[in-house]
Subunit: 206 residues, 2 copies
């Protein structure tokens, strides 16, 4: 009866502030006793629906300049390795499809952290089979079988449905967190969202 | 030699997140031993220079929707009274001009908090002589003399110069904090900016 509400984590591998949340979220939600629901979605279509051709950090030069410095400082504050990648935003469709498939699997967290590290620490491409295979290595018996399953039409549609749901619910950036209908935008709100989930009884939320 | 660097606080009375910082900043900087430099500027011309006709919270509906809920939650977190005003963003030219005049006066903090409370708690207009007179009452011997001084050409130019300096230094929203050339955007970075100023020796900053 006093069980915490779940926290929905809407994220994208190509999103820099998603990196700061993704590297910390499993540890923080576990410590708070809050169930974590992974919600991978594609930021590109959400941005296009809002009339933006790419990331606001690219479209708005001053905002982008501040963001790169902010990322350095924030990563340092959290004790996370970080390097500004030479490509931004990096395409991430294949690993996002695998994330949809893995959302309820035990390997999800580690897989996602490896993809994020590859983009934001190693500055390497993430949207190809070799990258995804490397991220799955040792976590699943047959990485190629997982990649094949991720490429099946039903799974592709699942990622598209997530993305459409994000737009419908008012998501305009990543990371975004939901506790029931309560929406929190940005890595700066991760702790608030977890506190909200911990304080809400399951019955109040979805 | 080990004196803390100063913190520049760039703000606007019409900016909602400036409210959250302004109500807290004197207490926080005093506790940290950080000299506070008030930097009033007009957000409207900065937005227009960036190609926006008004606040991004008005132009981007989803972002605006989230912001209003976020403000409720953040104000509650800080223990600040808050009400969503019926006009947003509220014009603030006259009180901003008075703020330019008062930036180095002992009444600055209390004057600014009163103007902010009027906009964000009482939901009343702030851009007229009656509002500014009320905010100055008891703080200066002759509020009308201060208003008259604020309306002098040199003081008007001072506010314009602040605004132009903001754009030139890469400010794209409010509040913004500077410690030397180090820029921090948003109320969420107030504590980081103060910590940075406290850690920096005066010599490193301006």
């Amino acid at each position: 009866m006093t069980q915490a509400a779940s926290l929905e984590f809407w994220f994208e591998f190509g999103s820099n502030y998603s990196y700061l949340s993704l590297m910390r979220i499993e540890e923080l939600t576990e410590a708070a006793g809050v169930p974590l629901l992974w919600r991978p979605f594609l930021l590109g279509p959400v941005f296009r629906e809002l009339g933006w051709s790419t990331s606001p950090f690219v479209l708005q030069e001053a905002k982008g300049r501040h963001m790169w410095r902010d990322m350095e400082r924030q990563a340092q504050k959290y004790g996370l390795e970080w390097r500004r990648p030479c490509v931004f935003p990096r395409a991430a469709v294949l690993p996002m499809r695998v994330a949809v498939l893995g959302a309820e699997e035990t390997w999800m967290g580690e897989f996602c952290r490896r993809v994020m590290r590859r983009n934001w620490v190693e500055d390497r491409e993430i949207d190809d089979a070799a990258a995804v295979r490397a991220a799955l290595a040792g976590l699943v018996p047959d990485p190629d079988a997982v990649i094949a399953a991720a490429l099946e039409p039903g799974n592709k549609l699942h990622l598209r449905a997530n993305t459409e749901q994000a737009s419908r619910r008012g998501v305009f950036g990543a990371p975004t967190f939901f506790v029931g209908d309560e929406m929190f935008w940005g890595n700066d709100r991760l702790e608030d969202a977890i506190a909200c989930a911990a304080a809400c009884r399951q019955a109040r939320a979805i």
